[in-house]
Point group: C2
Chain length 294, copies 2
C-alpha cells in the first residue's frame, strides 16, 4: 500500500496548524501514507506520523502531551483482542522512541479533545515518543501505550523539556528542594549512539530492553553554565548510564591516547569519531587529572 518512501520530520508546505480536508489529502506528499490505519510506520524504519481519530477510547490528549494507544485488536472503535508490540505501527513507534525520530501528530474531527478540529484534520506538529508501556484497556484487552510530548520548537508552545518537568510544577511542595539529573537526548547524541550501536565506549555494555537498546550521549565538556560545552560530535561519547555518571562526576577521565585515568582501561573509539582533545583536556582539568608542568 505505502509504496512512497517514508519521510520523517517537517515536510515543506505543511506548517503546524495545516488543515487537511480528508486523509487522502495527506497521501501524495507522504505526510501520512495511509487512508485508514492511524499509524504510518514499521519496525524497520520507524513511525513518521500518527492520526488521532477517536478510534481508541483510552487515548488522552493534553495538547503538548498525548497518551496514545497503539494499533491492533480494534474493530469499529471497540477493542476485541490484545495488541502486540510486534504490530508494525507499534514497533515503528518503539523505533522512533529509541532513535529519537520526530512523529507528526494529526488530529481528526472524530477525536474528542480541546485540540481537535470541528471537521477535517489538523496538523498538530512534531512530537517525540518518550515512554512506552502496556496496560489492560477499558475493554479488558492488553493495549500498547505511548507517551508523546511536543518537540516541534514553535515559539509560544512548551518545549519537550518543559512538559517533562510539569510534574513538579503543579505541586508547590514538590517544587521545594527537588534537584534533577538531566540526560539530554539531542540529535547529535543520537548520532553518536548509533555510531557505537548503543555500546558503552568504556565497558562495552549495551542496555537491552524488551523495547530496544539504550545508551546515553555524554558531553565531555558539559553543556550549560559555566562550562558552555558544545553539543557536537567532537564533544560527545556513547556511554552506559553508570559510566556517564562516573565520567560527569570525575571518577575517571581520559588521556589524549584514550587510556582511562583513575580506572584501568581504555576508551573504544570509532575511526569516524574525532574527539576534541581540548574537550578531554577540559574534563581532566575539571577533575584534577591534568598534570601541571611545574
Amino acid at each position: 500500500m505505502a509504496t512512497r518512501q517514508i519521510k520523517f520530520g517537517e515536510i515543506a508546505g505543511f506548517e503546524e496548524g495545516h488543515f487537511f480536508e480528508d486523509r487522502r489529502a495527506m497521501n501524495e506528499s507522504s505526510f501520512h501514507r495511509h487512508i485508514t490505519p492511524g499509524i504510518d510506520g514499521n519496525g524497520k524504519e520507524g513511525t513518521s506520523a500518527i492520526v488521532l481519530s477517536g478510534g481508541y477510547t483510552d487515548d488522552a490528549d493534553y495538547g503538548d502531551e498525548i497518551i496514545y494507544t497503539g494499533a491492533g485488536g480494534n474493530k469499529n472503535g471497540k477493542q476485541v483482542s490484545d495488541q502486540t508490540w510486534e504490530q508494525p505501527g507499534n514497533a515503528g513507534l518503539l523505533v522512533s522512541m529509541n532513535k529519537g525520530y520526530p512523529v507528526r501528530v494529526i488530529r481528526g474531527h472524530k477525536h474528542k479533545s480541546d485540540f481537535s478540529p470541528q471537521n477535517g484534520y489538523i496538523y498538530g506538529g512534531l512530537y517525540s515518543v518518550v515512554d512506552a508501556w502496556e496496560e489492560l484497556g477499558k475493554e479488558g484487552f492488553k493495549i500498547c501505550r505511548f507517551r508523546l510530548v511536543y518537540s516541534g520548537g514553535k515559539p509560544g508552545r512548551k518545549s519537550a523539556e518543559d512538559t517533562e518537568l510539569d510534574y513538579s510544577k503543579k505541586d508547590p511542595k514538590r517544587r521545594k528542594g527537588t534537584v534533577v539529573r538531566i540526560v539530554r537526548d539531542t540529535k547529535k547524541a543520537q548520532q553518536i549512539k548509533e555510531l557505537y550501536v548503543y555500546q558503552c565506549q568504556v565497558c562495552g555494555t549495551t542496555i537491552k530492553t524488551k523495547k530496544g537498546f539504550y545508551a546515553e550521549g555524554a558531553h565531555i565538556k558539559p553543556l550549560g553554565k559555566p562550562h558552555n560545552g558544545d553539543d557536537s560530535i567532537d564533544n560527545l561519547l556513547c556511554l552506559c548510564p553508570n559510566h556517564h555518571v562516573m565520567f560527569d562526576k570525575g571518577a575517571f577521565s581520559i588521556a589524549d591516547d584514550f587510556n582511562l585515568i583513575g580506572v584501568v582501561g581504555y576508551l573504544t573509539v570509532h575511526s569516524g569519531h574525532n574527539i576534541g582533545s581540548h574537550n578531554l583536556k577540559y574534563h581532566r582539568e575539571c577533575h584534577g587529572y591534568e598534570v601541571t608542568i611545574e
Copy 2:
C-alpha cells in the same frame, strides 16, 4: 569556635530576604555560626550556609544560579595557594551535594552582583549544590568550584528544575527535538539512598567518585502522567543508574517475594523498607510480567 549545633534548612524568624546588619547577627540562631569564614560546615555533617562577600574574584552570581568558589588559599581577597577538597567548608559542600542538604545563601554588601545589598547582608534563600569541579583560578592557583541552584520553593522564583533546563531555553534551535531523561532527587529519594548506603538493590554496586557516593531513587510506579505514582518510600528503590534505566524500561520487574523477573536474581530489601506490593504489581502490568488469570 562553632560550639552551637549545625542547623540545616529554614530557621524560624529568618524569611528569605531577611536583612542582617552584620555577620554577628547571624550567629546566635546558628543561621551562620562564623564571623569571618564564608562557609559554615564540615566534611562530617555537611555545609548549612555560605556567605558571598566578594572575597573570591572567580565567583559568578546569576541570582537563581551561583558559581561559588570554595574556601582556602585566599589572603585579603587574593588567591595565594591551591584550594583542596579536604578543607572543611569545601568537604561540607560535597556532603551537602551528595546528601541533598539545602544550603542557606547570604549575600553581603561587598559581593558585587545585581542581587547584593548596598549595606549589611541579605538572606537569599535555600540553594542545592548540584555540581563540583576544580579549575585554575584567575590568579593561577587551583580553586574548588561549586554550582548552586535555588531550591527554596518561593512562588515567583524559578525552581531548581527550571534552572537546570535553562540551557536549552536560550537557544531556539536547541529547544527543537531535545528530549530529556530526568532523574529527580527528592527528599524521599535521599532517604532511600541513605537507607541502602548508596548500594544498588539489584547488583550491589556503589558508584564511588572522588567526591562521594552516587545512587538513584527509582520510583516503582512512575511519577507524572498518566501513572501518577507517589514520591514515597513504599514506591522507591535504591538503584545504580544502569538498573534504574533497565527497570524504567521494563527490562526486568520484581515479584512480590522480591525475586527478579526477566533477569536472574533477587532484590535486596532492608527490614525497614516496606515496598508497596500494589506498586510492584503496577510495574509488572506495565511491562507485561503480570500473569493474568484466565
